[in-house]
Symmetry: C2
DNA sequence: ATAATACTTAGCCTTATGGATAACCATCTT
DNA sequence: AAGATGGTTATCCATAAGGCTAAGTATTAT
């Protein structure tokens, strides 16, 4: 059960990295452009990109001296699936509980 | 833009804590029961519960000497929403790209 | 050939994280 | 009243995370 969810969630547990993902949904970009809006030294910023890349959330390749970065599909869907599953299980339980509550109420009305 | 997503994602970035959440979808439980399957000292385990609680993912109250823990609704849905949004944006972009590609292909066939 | 651009690498620092032990307090049980 | 149960508090420790500066390496531009 120790999937890539670890790296995935911890990759998104940082506002800088979430901002990068949000930016990348509008299309690929070179490192320098991604870096621009963040008030932080480039090497620090590169660490964030590194984390996103090892988590599989982005991919990048270098063309000349420029490194282009683009978003990656799979992982987001995977995490979404996990969350959805938990929510469903939990909501299902609530439903059964309220059904039970109704049942008990009926019983007490009729009996 | 610095919501509760930080705490939320980092709370789920650990297998122990995700396991606790999974367990809690089947219903509330006392700390000792939650702890049992995890090969880890109680105080260490309690830190995980603490993180889940400050992230708003669980809530707990003490009855006698027992502390009962249950899962909390909102945050999961919120994170799911964020992920869904990113995925939609990104898929939307792919769609536009492939539409563009088709268009170009048509052009080159007709012209 | 020089200089500017766009990263890279290396090393340092501080705080957060995930784990442990030891000792403590508050309830039940017997 | 003792003892067992179920947490809690206090410390401590090692490693990871997030930030920095300084210096280095390729490419491209002049």
């Amino acid at each position: 059960m120790d999937n890539h969810l670890d790296g995935f969630f911890s990759a998104l547990a940082d506002p800088t990295r979430r901002a990068v993902i949000e930016r990348l949904t509008t299309g690929p970009a070179p490192v320098s452009e991604l870096h621009a809006p963040h008030d932080m030294a480039l090497p620090s910023f590169m660490k964030h990109l590194g984390k996103l890349e090892t988590a599989g959330l982005i991919r990048s390749e270098k063309v000349g001296r420029v490194r282009m970065v683009h978003i990656e599909a799979g992982p987001i869907a995977e995490a979404e699936t996990w969350l959805k599953k938990q929510r469903r299980l939990w909501e299902g339980r609530l439903d059964r509980l309220s059904a039970l509550a109704e049942h008990i109420e009926e019983e007490s009305n009729n009996g």
